[in-house]
């Protein structure tokens, strides 16, 4: 249990376009009430949205730091334009904060400067993680798609690197140059009028048989199901994972963070934690299939309760 208590929680960047005041107040409340150790902030999905949060960035950073949280600045997940590269370069030059790489260009710019790796960079094996660490990465959040068998291999191979996994949130599954979100509302990317702001938790994509399937978030496609590794935290900690990422959804993220902390601290049993999480984020079913090397959309019940049913 001591090992479980040594773990930390990271709040990931808000992937969705939230109203600027909502975004600010959300982080103020995280600063004041959430038991997270670090908070990643900044636009990650679409550079067109960047100006919305800029007026509030300084006050959010200050509030989070006053509360003892480490602030990490996020970078764009898909960089194609000059001004996007330039923005990352300038941020790297002037910022005193740790930055998080989500694209190859940030890896290039952040070389030899301590930085973190976000879950959108393809780290599938230890040689890749070792290479990134040799270039200054201090913490690596592994991709949501990675099965536990791979997580274990990587952490065992590189015990000195801090590894994080994507423990809560709709899974970022794809990103495109094209904006399906704008297209679904009769616009194109260059004239989008920020219609993605109408869907703070993503715009549902259902199959023609009305199955809930995916959600659109601007140029990003996320899963309908919400990844939860609450039931697997003990195995992950045992495997050497040091921190867990909670990716903001439009729900009470303070309560989500408290619940994860409570399960890590042993104050709440994992099964009870999962039941509680289903209430806290009722908008989507929970899934942990990727962890179990299955379809990302599926939920695999805890083996422990199955084992408990058999004589020792």
């Amino acid at each position: 249990m001591t090992d479980m208590k040594k773990t930390s929680l990271t709040l990931g960047p808000v992937y969705y376009l939230w109203n600027a005041e909502k975004w600010r107040d959300f982080h103020f409340r995280i600063a004041d009430e959430a038991p997270v150790d670090r908070v990643v902030i900044g636009e990650t999905v679409c550079s067109k949205r960047q100006h919305f949060i800029e007026p509030h960035l300084a006050e959010v950073v200050e509030r989070l730091e006053s509360a003892g949280k480490t602030v990490i600045l996020s970078t764009l997940a898909l960089v194609t334009l000059n001004r996007e590269s330039k923005q990352i370069r300038e941020m790297a030059e002037v910022s005193e904060h740790l930055m998080e790489a989500n694209d190859l260009s940030a890896l290039a710019i952040l070389k030899d400067k301590p930085h973190t790796i976000g879950p959108l960079v393809n780290v599938y094996n230890a040689p890749t993680a070792r290479l990134l660490a040799s270039r200054g990465a201090t913490r690596i959040c592994l991709p949501p798609e990675l099965p536990f068998s791979s997580v274990k291999e990587i952490t065992a191979e590189l015990p000195d690197i801090d590894f994080e996994v994507f423990a809560f949130g709709r899974m970022p599954l794809a990103i495109s140059a094209r904006c399906a979100h704008a297209r679904s509302k009769g616009k194109i990317k260059d004239n989008c009028q920020f219609v993605c702001g109408e869907d703070p938790d993503g715009l549902p994509v259902r199959t023609l048989d009305r199955q809930s399937f995916l959600a659109l978030n601007g140029v990003q496609t996320v899963s309908h199901a919400c990844q939860s590794l609450l039931g697997e935290l003990d195995h992950l900690v045992e495997a050497g994972v040091r921190s867990f990422r909670l990716s903001p959804q439009d729900c009470d993220m303070v309560a989500v963070a408290k619940l994860h902390r409570a399960v890590l601290d042993g104050a709440v049993d994992a099964d009870a934690g999962v039941a509680k999480l289903r209430q806290l984020y009722a908008a989507a079913p929970l899934a942990n299939g990727f962890h179990h090397a299955k379809e990302g959309a599926v939920w695999v019940a805890r083996t422990r309760s199955l084992q408990a049913a058999w004589p020792a």
């Binding site: 290039a108 290479l131 140059a177 199955q211 659109l216």
Partner: protein, 325 residues
């Protein structure tokens, strides 16, 4: 500009060489390459013979090892690289940094190409791969406009190769786990997208329903031709509308932009389609080669012939054209 052609089988490889390919790309019959489909790809012996044939005809062979190494099983990819080098591959097409680092260190003389799966979409990213691994060429993601490509070309220290014909990924390549969300199998990890093993067709009233894993990807009313349920080319319900949410079932064709691509500094043109049969490869390669060798004002009939070979005969210029976004 060079013409880079696909080969999923030794027969298609021979056809591509005979039809005038400047280079043919292919992969081993395992999870090391992103077209790991049943009945496709090359054994070591088949690759040895193919490379020998290509060399006699003055054609290059590129070997794609462009999936991401499975943790703990890196030896499979290392062995693939070692064998491809030993068999005389002219270039290795790689996506995984760990594998790039390994190849750059072990075989410093070997030409290394950055796969589209690496998603190097800007000069910083590309120059990083040039500096770190001595990459000689980058296959650009299908997320860029021709203007973007021209700008990138001026700012990088390696050659550019672009896709001009065949299948079209709507999502940034190498960064998509839609397929594994629905099937557990992904391009990055298993070299497959929307795999046939998880595809089902069923009748529902008068409609034909195509499914991938547990999810409906499309419904075709009687009389409408049914397509393969590639996830991002399906019809879905969004808000009050339903239709092709990400992309119509079209394929890429930017052969009409040859001059613009040349002016942008593109070194090589790539045809998608290692899953295609030898007749298709022969026809597409010879037509494209003829188009490349013709003056611009004589190309129209050749390009019209090409269009009849496209998937569903509907084509798009994709992200190369800004309005697509």
């Amino acid at each position: 500009m060079e013409l880079i052609c696909p080969a999923g089988t030794p027969a298609a490889f021979h056809e591509a060489v005979d039809a005038g390919a400047d280079a043919v790309y292919c992969g081993f019959r395992d999870e090391t390459n992103a077209r790991n489909f049943p009945g496709l790809n090359f054994s070591r012996e088949e690759l040895r013979e193919a490379i020998a044939y290509a060399k006699r005809k003055g054609t290059q062979t590129f070997v794609a090892l462009n999936t991401f190494m499975r943790a703990g099983a890196e030896e499979i990819w290392y062995k693939g690289a070692a064998d491809a080098v030993a068999l005389g591959a002219d270039a290795l097409i790689l996506a995984d940094f760990g594998l790039m680092a390994h190849v750059a260190e072990k075989y410093p003389e070997q030409r290394l190409h950055v796969s589209v799966q690496a998603s190097a979409s800007n000069p910083d990213a590309i120059n990083f791969l040039v500096d770190a691994f001595n990459a000689q060429r980058v296959v650009l993601p299908r997320t860029l406009t021709i203007a973007d490509i021209a700008r990138i070309g001026k700012n990088i220290r390696c050659e550019m190769e672009v896709f001009v014909f065949g299948g079209l990924c709507v999502m940034a390549e190498g960064r998509c786990s839609l397929s594994s969300y629905a099937t557990g199998k992904s391009p990055n990890m298993n070299g497959v997208c929307s795999p046939a093993s998880h595809v089902r067709y069923r009748k529902d009233g008068g409609e034909l329903v195509s499914e991938l894993g547990e999810f409906t990807i499309n419904r075709f009313p009687a009389g409408e031709a049914a397509g393969y349920p590639t996830l991002c080319k399906g019809r879905f319900d969004i808000a009050d509308s339903n239709g092709y949410a990400f992309e119509d079932p079209v394929s890429l064709d930017v052969m009409g932009e040859l001059e613009a691509l040349k002016a942008a500094g593109v070194k090589a043109l790539k045809i998608e389609g290692r899953q295609r049969g030898k007749a298709y490869v022969a026809e597409v390669v010879s037509t494209m080669k003829a188009a490349l060798n013709s003056p611009p004002d004589r190309r129209a009939p050749l390009l019209a012939r090409l269009r009849t070979m496209s998937e569903g005969q509907k084509t798009t210029s994709g992200a190369y054209e800004k309005r697509w976004r």
